[in-house]
């Protein structure tokens, strides 16, 4: 399962990189709606990366919930 989660993180990181590039393109070409949507997509990608890291046991749980 850990390998699967690791693979997911790699894929999501790659997606995140694409979204970041898209944000730059959106900004450079004044396509603000594209840039804004990709900011959202990037944040969602980050949230899934954090979820997978948590499921792998590499972060959390918070001290109060151990």
């Amino acid at each position: 399962m850990h390998a699967l989660y690791g693979m997911g993180i790699v894929v999501l990181s790659g997606l995140g990189l694409l979204f970041a590039a898209g944000i730059i393109i959106g900004e450079a070409t004044d396509q603000w709606f594209l840039g804004g949507a990709l900011i959202g997509a990037l944040l969602i990608t980050y949230s899934f990366i954090i979820l997978l890291l948590r499921k792998m046991g590499m972060i959390g749980p918070r001290k109060a919930e151990r």
Partner: protein, 398 residues
């Protein structure tokens, strides 16, 4: 004291079914997410996050918005199309408003189905109902500020509803409009009615948290990222747009419906304004009454209530503060000790626990928290509990 409860009525059975569904949903989501990430545990925190997003995006929009009949529509168009990322911020404001209402409704139903609104929890329930009411009203005034044909029609319908209220309706309508009809002062008033109640929401949140010891006011980071992401994504993919500009000659008869803010206006298709106002008032009053009229069991059914307000046994209290930290109702405070306790452990205390009777719900948590036997429920003492247990486990006489 009887320990046998009356059989649950139809409402009680329904609520028990809903409780089971809620808990099954919890269990299912806990299989997908770690328990500390389960969003259902943070519905209140998520609403708070949406509110924070609303405030920040609202401040941005406020810098560019002009509350004047002739300019308001154009200023919103300018924000959406000419200000860098202005359209995104407008969309974020719009979708965060929907998220705020969805979060509050989820929070409301979850706490209703899990019985977390009874007894001393009536305070967060009542304040939550006001948060929902104000949230709905603020969203409605937000739609008016755009001043397109929908805003114009909404204003006309709202005025009709106000005027249907006996005695105070007409003066209220004049105050809302700033005159006999829609005029230059109207949008300024609507902007006022958008921003001031929005600020008041934080006062209501203070009221909401007042009696809660450890409220989860913020969701975990993963959900902060997800929520921000989803509102930005929606704002970019489905931008918030205005309709045709409002004009005195326009006579719009329909508009796109936002189910979270415009349901009362939808009802106007079939009901008169007076009936819609009456139904809204009845619905809100019923919501306020829920903690008092929808208990599955009466206090008598529960049997274990009426244990008496918790009392501190002065001589045993060491001032350790364990009860103070454990009481979920903020019913225990620590005061400087007027003198040493009687027990050896309490001889050098500097603090003394005091129970605030108005807040104590007689739950007994403080008794479990205290290792020094310094608290008791006077009508429900340890020896009585042991007697009940002993009786309960006695084999039935043939």
């Amino acid at each position: 004291m009887s320990m046998t409860a009356a059989p649950p009525n139809r409402y009680g059975r329904l609520m028990t079914s809903l409780l089971r569904v809620t808990l099954r949903l919890d269990t299912f989501i806990n299989k997908i997410y770690p328990t500390d990430f389960n969003p259902l545990y943070y519905t209140g925190g998520l609403s708070n996050l949406f509110l924070f997003v609303l405030v920040l995006s609202g401040i941005f929009l406020f810098f560019y918005y002009e509350a004047s009949l002739g300019v308001a529509f154009e200023s919103v168009r300018y924000i959406s199309q000419d200000v860098p990322y202005g359209g995104i911020i407008r969309g974020v404001h719009r979708y965060a408003a929907d998220g705020f209402i969805v979060g509050i409704l989820l929070h409301l139903f979850r706490n209703w189905f899990t019985d977390r609104y009874l007894f001393s929890r009536d305070n967060p329930w009542i304040s939550g109902m006001f948060l929902l009411l104000f949230g709905g009203f603020i969203g409605f005034t937000g739609y008016q500020l755009v001043w397109d044909e929908r805003a114009q029609l909404l204003t006309s319908m709202f005025i009709a509803m106000l005027r249907s209220i006996p005695a105070v309706g007409e003066p209220l309508a004049r105050v809302f409009l700033g005159g006999e009809g829609i005029g230059e002062g109207t949008l300024v008033r609507i902007l006022f009615l958008h921003i001031v109640p929005a600020s008041t929401l934080y006062v209501m949140l203070w009221w909401h948290y007042l009696r809660l010891r450890h409220p989860k006011i913020w969701p975990p980071g993963v959900w902060v990222l997800f929520v921000l992401g989803i509102v930005f994504l929606l704002a970019g993919v489905i931008p918030a747009i205005s309709g045709q500009p409002a004009t005195p000659s326009a006579r719009p008869t329909s508009f796109p419906l936002d189910v979270f803010f415009m349901l009362p206006f939808w009802l106007l298709n079939w009901l008169s304004p007076g009936v819609v106002v009456f139904l809204s008032v009845v619905l809100f009053a019923a919501g306020l009454a829920v903690p008092y009229f929808s208990r599955r069991e009466t206090v008598a059914d529960m049997g274990v209530r009426h244990a008496g307000v918790a009392q501190v046994i002065d001589g045993n209290c060491t001032g350790c503060e364990l009860c103070y930290f454990d009481c979920p109702y903020n019913a225990i405070i620590m005061v400087p000790s007027p003198g040493p306790g009687l027990s050896k452990a309490a001889a050098n205390r500097t603090l003394l626990a005091v129970v605030l009777e108005s807040r104590c719900v007689e739950c007994g948590i403080c008794i479990g928290a205290c290792p020094f036997e310094a608290l008791e429920l006077p009508k429900f003492m340890e020896r009585d509990v042991q007697a009940h247990i002993t009786n309960a486990v006695q084999p039935t006489q043939a």
